[in-house]
Symmetry: none
Subunit: 216 residues, 4 copies
């Protein structure tokens, strides 16, 4: 078995033919499905190949080993969610705090819920050391991005911006993960966007010396 060295975790090839592309995607989706239906412990290469409608041999043509498969699932998820949030953040540069929080939180929640299967599958892999690498990378990009946009808020200045941003992110990501994974009731799931916005905004307002503080 391949030990968790950081080598060899990237896909083997990016095939140009359409058929190969389809196979690759089928394997990718199958990985998620097996993770959801069987759990991390029962995720085997043969099961994935079967669910994808191919054979193990073919699977190994695209991914050098099993870790790479998990890596791919995690990477795609965090990349895409990150991308959605980045776009939202860019569109509210230089707006008031409430607008920024609203845009960022709702983009995040939408992205997660659109990919809820991926999110849950990812969770069962969260304990894995190798997946952590990707998540930490993405976390750093997220912190930088949020720091940048919050600095432009027209109506709030933060004494300790790094801390505020960290808590913001922890609240947004952590509590959403808790909810998705904990099997929250539909009523909560529906209200999630608004509640999370309230949670984050409530915190950030407390953390900011609001510019109009005195005029209240």
């Amino acid at each position: 078995m391949v030990k968790s060295t950081s080598a060899n975790l990237s896909p083997r090839k990016m095939p140009r033919q359409a058929r190969s592309q389809a196979t690759l995607e089928a394997i990718f989706q199958a990985t998620i499905q097996v993770l959801l239906s069987e759990g991390r412990q029962r995720l085997t290469t043969i099961r994935v190949a079967e669910r994808a409608g191919t054979s193990v041999g073919t699977l190994y043509q695209y991914y050098p080993n099993k870790q790479a498969l998990l890596f791919a699932v995690v990477r795609r998820h965090v990349t895409e969610v990150g991308e959605q949030v980045r776009r939202a953040a860019e569109s509210v540069h230089g707006k008031p705090l409430a607008d920024i929080v609203s845009a960022v939180v709702s983009a995040f929640v939408r992205a997660k819920i659109d990919r809820i299967d991926e999110a849950r599958a990812l969770f069962s892999v969260a304990g894995e050391l190798d997946s952590r690498v990707l998540v930490v990378e993405s976390e750093e990009r997220g912190l930088a991005m949020l720091t940048a946009v919050l600095r432009t808020a027209t109506d709030a200045k933060f004494d300790d911006l790094p801390t505020a941003v960290y808590i913001f992110m922890a609240a947004m990501i952590g509590s959403t993960t808790y909810m998705i994974e904990g099997g929250a009731p539909p009523s909560i799931l529906r209200a999630w966007g608004g509640q999370l916005e309230s949670l984050c905004l409530g915190y950030l307002e407390r953390a900011a010396r609001s510019i109009h503080n005195d005029s209240r």
Copy 2:
């Protein structure tokens, strides 16, 4: 869905001899240590026994199977953290919201940080279905407890208490998990109690029709 055998997850015997008691505890601690140093995937019964300074055979005298070992770790953690929070909550019945949040949050944070090894170990097992059972149970007790205490807050009434409590808990547990697991810098770790209190209180004040709302 992941199959849940649910068979025989309770410890095999509670031995009376002092030697046995020590062995039992050594195995318990070894499980946590191996989980932390090697991760869930590399947690093997032999490795646990070795780290505990015994043999596999002995391990199996106390736990009927590997799942039971994990079960024991998770159960003890959630039980003890839950207990700390419960005590704190009882001591602030009928106090103002800020006091309640402060007491609950700081009890939770203290309990988690006192058991930070257990908490991290628990995380790498979070994906396992069997552990979920315990966590869900404990969640339900937590919700009931928080609902009860928040109802007694002298200065806040909630239109939608169930939702507010759920978000409160998700924020408290979820973001703490995120932080502990994400490897937060010491500066954050130190500030955690206060920040988390701010996060939760900010939210709950927004969610409450504050009694003195008008007099502001």
Copy 3:
């Protein structure tokens, strides 16, 4: 009583490639050989695989577990012996008692002796509950078959046919098993067919009201 899991005792796949077919048969024969040379207690999957010239992994591609291996050996033996006897019995419908007994007994003895390795191997597994299932099934078919043919005997009618048939079968199978397993001397082994015929015919004549009883 011995617990009967009764799960998954049928072979895993019937492969089409010639290589696989050969492997399957090699494993089958190896099971018998190991049973004979080492006994049931020392029949291990690794030993079987080694003797078959393959690896354990391969063994498990064909049989889902060890029980299934034993099951296969027993099933094939009782099926084939049963088949031989059935054919012999059909060929003597409507003949005199002596002819019927002669045909049935000699077919049985020949079938057993032709497969004497299987027969001995089977014996060391006889205590196993799962094998009993098959044997009992085959016993029932045997009783039905013998009942049918004895009813057509031209020169004998039985007051209590069910009992007579049962004793006939018990004598035929039981004493042959005893002999094969007890390590009878070659002289006995050679004479077995005739002696067993004598044993069974002696009994059945006593059990029948012989039609020509009076004219003797």
Copy 4:
């Protein structure tokens, strides 16, 4: 584990104190009970000790190893059954064939049925090499004994006495084993003595030059 060398199979001590005697017997009976209720594969020393109401340690005070336990069960059974038959045979020296067969067969059947638990338990151990040794020994004594008594039959002389005796024994023991183990219906079980007598006598009369052959 002790390999099946023929060493060390005898009980460790024959205790004189009554309490020890009782313990020894309890272990003996427990072995049979476990064999019947769990099967050979699940016969473990701990299970036997528990069922006997003692501890493994104590068990090992009386038997040097597990094989010795099985050995003891088998030995006692074959010894006692053999003894019953021997007494019956002695009582019919110099009597007619029918009397001899009747005495021997009914003694055998009675002895077996009186110890039917032992008989069944013994069966699940039959495949074991070590038990075979005892059975073969006892078989030899049996053959000698039956040869001796049949030679005194007043009304029958055998051309090939060794063969006749062997078949007699195989029929008696083999078919009884088949019946007991096959789970014969009660009707058969009740009729067994008479039927078996008929079986054996039918054969032996055919095998003998009956002295009064001419006078028929």
